[in-house]
Amino acid sequence: MTADAAFQFIVDQLQDGDPIIRADAARLLGEIKRSHAVASLTEYLQNEQHYTKVAGVYALWQIADPAAIPILQSLLKNPNVPDDWYWYARRAVVTSVAIGLSTFGDDSGVPFLQDLLDKNSDVVLCWYGPTILRMARGSDQAEPVAGLQKLAKQITVSALYNTVALSKRFSEPGLLTMTAETLGLIGTKDAQAKLVDLLTHPSRYVRGRAALSLLEADASDANRQIISNLLLSDQTDFVAIKASLALAMAFEDEREKRSTGIARIAASASDSFDRAVAIESLGLLPGGNHADVIATALDDADAYVRQCAAEACPDDPELRKRIESLQQANPAPRVRLSASKWLAVTGRQHEVSR
């Protein structure tokens, strides 16, 4: 299968009957970053009435083609999703659109974001707090987004904790996990103190995220010791993976040992989600070690593990036939999508290099 055919396969899935598959196709198109997808993503965003359309908005951020600006401006006025004023999903859609416009230098959505901040909304402080902070800061790949910098300055520990004691922000593990990610990006001493507290939370997902965030905030010797201790004491595979990943990302001298630990979990964990997270983590680590473990996971009984394996696979010509087989015959549509992404990206690289 050619790279273009694989790319077109993903584009075609924007029309699938299942909104999760449509959203996954949009996510992968964003990761591929080809401007050819903008027109199809625009059509998808115009028609989609599920909140899952946020994935299409993120894709437009990543592709960063100004051709996306008109659809984002249109969605800011009319996101074309039901108004679930009782919950938060419509606000999340508009928030993603407002952030997306700012990445193109259009700050017309910033007043909407500021209003949510003034209302102490979980949407901007937790669900999109990490994104706003990252974009305002910039990275090796992206310039800081000026329109978000004023907002980012208001996302502080005191803003996050400026709420009543029984707020779900501090009791619901999903929100708390996002809060932990935000705290890591705030990075101050008081943020780190909150993260250390979260390392003892009853939810393994909160503890795992807090471990990553603590070392993202400050890869100090003291924090290294704290996470090493967590790795020794925590009974769950999930926290072991995240603590190992945190140490491996923060300290080069930990990388080999910790990636070996993650690979062991990837090969042996009884919980398929833990196996998937381990495979995903191996794919994030530089160096491409343990490709054999990732390749083995392409045949895992669990579809999400196979999907993560397809996305974590290194660009190895020997894997091409197996990935093509996944793309063509795997019964799980999202595995086929992820395999298509591999073929679209690696095939394109090889075509360019030829």
């Binding site: 909104p19 996954d24 909140y51 946020v54 994935a55 999903a89 999903g174 009853p202 997270v277």
Partner: protein
């Protein structure tokens, strides 16, 4: 020859509020004052008797059955129908266009007759409806007892083949869960969807009751594990449960359908979404259309099974079990009711609401050979009962966090009194399963 045959009777009553415009349906907050009754709210009663043992199942288009209401109904039926109150099982459909309460200040401001006289009308309407539910439940059950006739009973399990109930928790790559009710789940940037976090209900359980000598049943009590509400309409409505009953009844002549919600804490019927983006009239039309669509799918699954070959039996005894904790201190403890009636190998199981679906699977696994019909929302105090893993993953059901200690299960009210908190207790799910398995095995 059986000298004391198995008798059964069924009846229905209307509990629609008489002064709907002064009330607000509960369960989800409304922005608009109530317009009226879109379709009637009902209760149904199914009465049984054999060898002088009387028992009864009452279902209704209610969000919850208030524990005090349940107590009064049981007491009155004990006196008037000579039915042991422990043999009366009750279940709400978990309707979110029912159980009216006083409108809040924002809604009152939009309603006619401001001031004390209007407030008094609202309060009177709530009190009148509360009493109406008790009166109609009792009258309906008495009517069912009055209609007892020689009958036989069969259980069935119908496979759902079209989208109906959907597990409403979506797992994300960070391990957490978000809700995928309404028009789907939002994924934060940088994460991806893993898949639904638990099972979706693919079977409808039911018991059919037919008069001896006839082919088709005159009553069916179905049980499906799902929340039935679609949207917070400013109308009273029987929602999907009523639509399902209507669809089933329209296809089986002479049938009265009863609808029970089983273990539905993490399941919704949002396979009917997305809903229209704007417009009250469009929302109402969509609501009616989608309720009818889901009701039709429910009937598509259930009716062929009702009409198919079933193994009817005539129980000669109705063993029962019942336990209720918390009644002695109803202001400070949450009331938890568990119960069961055995009709041959069919167990009608009474349990609280908002239990996660996995506990239903555990119950069935622990009781092989028994046909379980789960009747949730039974007059216990309602709260979510998640699995231990769900308590770590989060989602709306865990919005108040898992209670970690008995002290955390209580909150201090502004008056200083201890009141039950809404913190879900993951530890109580396995306990409920264990207790029910013990109760049913003892019968």
């Amino acid at each position: 020859m059986n000298s004391s045959p198995f008798l059964a009777g069924v009846a229905r009553g209307d509990i629609s509020p008489d002064n709907a415009q002064w009330l607000t349906p509960t369960g989800m907050v409304r922005l608009l004052p109530t317009r009226g009754v879109l379709d009637p709210l009902e209760v149904q009663a199914l009465a049984f008797e054999t060898h002088g043992q009387r028992s009864c199942v009452i279902t209704g288009d209610l969000r919850v059955i208030d524990p005090e209401c349940a107590r009064q109904v049981r007491r009155q039926l004990s006196e008037k129908a000579h039915c042991n109150p422990d043999r009366i099982l009750m279940g709400a459909t978990h309707n979110h266009c029912s159980n009216p309460e006083l409108p809040g200040p924002a809604l009152r401001a939009q309603m006619p007759e401001p001031g004390e006289s209007g407030d008094r009308r609202c309060a009177e309407a709530v009190a009148a409806w509360t009493q109406k539910v008790i009166d109609v439940m009792v009258a309906t059950a008495l009517e069912a007892f009055a209609k007892l006739r020689a009958s036989e009973i069969a259980s069935l399990e119908a496979l759902v083949t079209q989208p109906l109930g959907l597990n409403r928790r979506m797992r994300l790559s960070s391990g957490i869960c978000v809700n995928q009710w309404g028009s789907g789940p939002v994924v934060p940037p940088g994460q991806k969807y893993v898949g639904t976090a638990g099972a979706s209900p693919d079977r409808i359980g039911a018991v059919c009751i037919r008069e001896v000598g006839t082919e088709l049943p005159f009553a069916v009590l179905s049980s499906y594990d799902s929340h039935i509400h679609l949207y917070e309409l400013p109308w009273f409505s029987g929602e999907v449960a009523a639509a399902a009953r209507r669809a089933v009844e329209s296809r089986v002549p002479g049938l009265t359908a009863l609808y029970a919600s089983g273990v539905s804490g993490d399941v919704d019927m949002h396979t009917a979404h997305p809903m229209p983006v704007e417009g009250e009239a469009e929302a109402v039309a969509w609501f009616q259309d989608r309720a009818a669509m889901l009701g039709g799918r429910f009937a598509d699954a259930l009716v062929p099974a009702i009409k198919g070959p079933l193994h009817y039996q005539r129980p000669t005894t109705i063993p029962h079990a019942f336990q209720s904790v918390g009644d002695e201190q109803p202001q400070t403890r949450r009331i938890l009711v568990l119960g069961a009636l055995m009709l041959g190998d069919i167990a009608l199981v009474s349990l609280p609401g908002e239990i996660f679906i996995d506990y239903g699977r555990q119950l069935r696994q622990a009781l092989p050979g028994k046909q379980l019909i789960l009747i949730g929302y039974n007059g216990s105090d309602p709260y979510y009962i998640p699995t231990a893993l769900a308590a770590e993953q989060g989602s709306y059901e865990l919005a108040h966090g898992p209670a970690r200690t008995p002290e955390e299960e209580m909150l201090v009210s502004p008056t200083g009194a201890l009141v039950p908190s809404r913190k879900p207790r993951p530890g109580i799910g396995p306990k409920i399963v264990e207790e029910l398995v013990g109760l049913i095995r003892s019968l």
